[in-house]
Symmetry: C2
Subunit: 305 residues, 2 copies
């Protein structure tokens, strides 16, 4: 029962008020797969790069049990490039450059060996492509989907078609408000679930995350990070920890979904501690478990005896 991840693979230039990196490894499929790999390797990615994509990045991914057989390498093509600059509070950023390059014509062809994948994570790509991925999968058991403002504003009809074929939608609070045209997040969540989404996760950055299912609202705390080096990839790392944990458990009960949200938050907290994917490289299960337990500690209270 494979875990399949489809999304972007990119080379990023990222600047914060404190430091910067150039030609760093990035892209949704990269963050999701690295994060998920700690729970249930091998994970399989489908994406596209140019032949300018450094081999050592592929080597690093493979060393984390990320299978790159589905990564298309376009001869003579250039890899998707993104450049961004974060503001002082690290909550807002300016996009300085978006060069789609080979990603502009990305055709997500699922290798035959992955067409029976049971757990699918659709990174933030054109909903038309997300539908095309799902069309190639034979009876998936559990589909997790990300999206962004750009598709909510430009391709809402296609997005709603995607919603009817997924199990969990993961978006952030501003995306939820935009999607539902509703400032109250609880009402917005209800409206989004009414669009056909069985379970919805709303990420709130430094304020944690909310999970909405048919009968449950679950509020996960954020990890109390004092130092954030690079927020890039936090949302994708969340999605990776979430789906990786569920794939490992082969259990999608409400209790398991809650733990998966906390594992997602755990992986996002590691991600932002370093630039690019560095915070997700070379983690140990012990460190992940320890941090998961810290989430328990900071959120636990009891009724009087």
């Amino acid at each position: 029962m494979s875990l399949l991840i489809v999304g972007s693979v990119a080379l990023d230039n990222v600047a914060t008020p404190f430091d910067k990196v150039e030609n760093a490894l990035g892209g949704s499929a990269v963050y999701i797969s690295l994060s998920a790999s700690y729970f249930s390797g091998p994970v399989h990615i489908v994406g596209v790069v140019g032949d300018d994509f450094p081999q050592n990045y592929i080597t690093m991914l493979e060393s984390h049990d990320v299978n790159c057989d589905g990564l298309q390498i376009i001869p003579g093509g250039k890899t998707f490039r993104w450049a961004g600059k974060y503001h002082y509070d690290l909550n807002t950023r300016d996009t300085l450059l978006t060069e789609l390059n080979v990603f502009e014509k990305f055709d997500p062809i699922i290798p035959d060996t992955l067409k029976k994948s049971k757990y699918i994570c659709l990174g933030n790509i054109d909903p038309t492509l997300q539908l095309k991925v799902l069309d190639q999968i034979d009876n998936p058991r559990f589909v997790v989907c990300d999206t962004m403002n750009y598709w909510i504003e430009g391709k809402k009809d296609e997005l709603v078609k995607v919603f009817k074929r997924i199990d969990v939608l993961i978006i952030n609070d501003s995306e939820a408000r935009l999607l539902a045209h509703e400032p109250n997040l609880i009402k917005a969540a209800k409206a989004i679930r009414d669009m056909g989404v069985p379970a919805l996760i709303i990420k709130k950055g430094e304020h944690g995350a909310l999970l909405f299912t048919e009968d449950t609202i679950f509020s996960a705390p954020a990890y109390p990070l004092e130092i954030i080096h690079d927020p890039t990839g936090a949302g994708d790392s969340f999605a990776g920890g979430f789906v990786g944990y569920l794939h490992k458990c082969q259990d999608t009960s409400p209790e398991c979904l809650k733990r998966a949200v906390v594992y997602g938050s755990t992986m996002a907290s590691f991600c932002v501690e370093q630039f690019s994917t560095k915070g997700l490289e070379g983690l140990s299960n012990l460190r992940i478990q320890d941090r998961f337990r810290e989430f328990l500690t900071i959120s636990r209270f009891n009724e009087e005896e």
Copy 2:
């Protein structure tokens, strides 16, 4: 062991995009005391009003076991008046009117019978007056203090003097950032505790609240409210539930502080469901307990067995 609450008593005109009220009961001492009264009546307020203050408001407070013997009524004086208008998202508001009236010369005289009060809640008033209150109290056991941007910007030195004499400071996230000149809330909390505050609560509205003590960070969820009628008084209701519960328990251990934060959040959630103090009037212990348990339900997750 009395619970003493010092703060403003006001007549408010409040408008939201959906409704409005005029000459409604308001003020920090009012919301704090009503909220606290459910845990440990009688609670005692010290404040000031003019003789225009409606007797039925005093009757309502007294019916909730709020003792108004320390409420100064200035003959010929006019009660403090505030008018505000909330924006569409109910998170931001414009102050339309602030008439201090008798509150401008408020001299918080603590009646002799209350000078041995052990639990004190200092509502959001001039830190010079907060100090004056503390000077009159004989060896308080537990002091909770609120403040606001206005005093942080204008009277920081006096405020820091207050900090050294209190047990818990309750402020919101923007006040914490302003006070510490630091956008990261976890760092801001550390800086504020370094000013001499033993325990700090940062309220984050729809995102819950954080409690910082020497050894603990506790993250409390927000109650998932779909409909908010009037956010006025939410912070004071929080403070009232917090200090009222602690006063009831006569226990200020970390576990008890955590529960108190959730009781504070519980009372704030009732407050915003109706205009003015209506959401805090006529509550039952059963409703309060039920809502407290809902906070448990939405925040609880477990490690795998």
